[in-house]
């Protein structure tokens, strides 16, 4: 038979041990595990996903997105709105004129990132998103969503470098085919965005 009160005593010893170890142990070994947020931050993990952003190469004009609208269609809470930019002749310019994401609706699922065939939409790491005007202030327009490839390289190096390699390979392949048989549309398209 155990002594009456022994369980209570053992419990108190556990809390006492934790009280004492909190003063000298490291966070990983039973010490204080609080991260004091604004001053200290946890290590940013590469795969962490928050809200989507758009990638551009070099300058903001060279946007990867071609306004195909796949992400708009597949977004589960329907928080993306895209409008195609039209060039002077009224033909689609394969570039978004409007690209809005409503951050108040977005549920950070990463679907847009997965379905995008042009490696244009990716999930950001910036999680400190606030607005003073409620949900209207959380609609992000194209200008705010555009971020450079360098930024992408910085936050998710592994993914960005594989995608860069992939794009490079595709470009070289395309160049090779273009050099072999230059279709007439290729030249027009190259001039299009200017």
């Amino acid at each position: 038979m155990t002594i009456f009160g022994w369980g209570v005593f053992k419990g108190m010893m556990v809390t006492l041990k934790n009280f004492l170890t909190s003063y000298f142990r490291k966070p990983d070994e039973g010490g204080i595990f609080t991260v004091q947020y604004p001053e200290e931050r946890e290590k940013e993990l590469e795969n962490f996903r928050n809200f989507p952003f758009l990638v551009y190469d070099g300058t903001p004009e060279k946007i990867r997105c071609v306004a195909c609208g796949i992400c708009e269609r597949e977004c589960p809470p329907k928080c993306i709105h895209i409008e195609m930019e039209l060039d002077g002749t009224g033909k689609p310019a394969r570039k978004p004129a409007v690209f809005d994401i409503d951050y108040s609706l977005c549920m950070n699922c990463g679907m847009c990132e997965e379905v995008c065939p042009f490696d244009s939409v990716f999930m950001d790491h910036a999680f400190e998103v606030t607005s003073e005007t409620g949900s209207e202030g959380l609609v992000r327009h194209k200008e705010a969503l555009l971020k450079s490839n360098e930024y992408f390289q910085k936050i998710r190096p592994a993914l960005a470098s594989t995608i860069d390699q992939k794009r490079k390979a595709a470009e070289e392949k395309k160049k090779a085919t273009v050099q072999a048989t230059p279709p007439p549309a290729a030249g027009a398209q190259a001039q299009g965005p200017q």
């Binding site: 329907k78 709105h81 809005d100 609609v139």
Partner: protein, 195 residues
């Protein structure tokens, strides 16, 4: 471990000759909903199957008729599932309740009633589960149209007025006409999904 449906059907037919059964998509359709408790009780008690555990009860809307689907398992023999289903028309959606046989049907039948409007006769507490009692319509039926949140109901207007908030006259009139007709305000489907 699976139970072959044909085997179950044969067994039921030999023991309960009055019950008409049909195989639909690996499941047993009971032609007459009134036979359901009888079949369920037989399956529960029969030593061969011992289907003592009703896992899931749910409804489904197939436009012309409503369906109530039951998934039975055996905890004692660790076998299953056997799927039972009954079909009722939308106008006369009445299915006998399985609560006397399986208590696990209690909340699930309430849910199916709430969302599909299938009335489970003999249920001890036939209330809506998720929606409030005054709610009209059955949200999971395919013909359900969403409520127009822009249109106020009479009760809402009264509530607003007691608090000194003025309500436009058109809104009041609309509420009155709708109330007189005993209808709900139904929303037009938005033409384009919101940005």
């Amino acid at each position: 471990m699976n139970i072959s449906v044909e085997e179950v059907k044969k067994e039921i037919e030999t023991h309960l000759p009055n019950v008409k059964l049909r195989l639909v998509r690996d499941s047993i359709l009971i032609e007459n909903p009134e036979d359901l408790p009888q079949v369920a009780l037989f399956l529960k008690e029969s030593p061969r199957f011992l289907l003592d555990y009703l896992s899931s009860v749910t409804g489904a809307d197939y436009l012309t008729f409503l369906e109530s689907v039951y998934h039975l398992y055996s905890m004692a023999q660790k076998r299953g599932p056997v799927t039972l289903r009954v079909r009722v028309t939308k106008n006369n959606a009445k299915v006998p309740s399985l609560v006397p046989v399986y208590r696990s049907a209690e909340l699930q039948e309430r849910e199916a009633y709430d969302t599909f409007g299938i009335i489970y006769e003999g249920h001890p507490d036939p209330r809506r589960l998720f929606m409030w009692e005054e709610f009209q319509g059955y949200p999971l039926r395919k013909d359900y149209a969403q409520e127009d949140t822009e249109v106020l109901e009479i009760a809402d207007i009264a509530w607003l007025e007691t608090r000194g908030i003025e309500v436009p006259v058109e809104m009041k009139e609309k509420a009155k006409t709708l109330h007189a007709a005993g209808q709900r305000a139904v929303a037009q489907k938005p033409e384009k999904p919101r940005p």
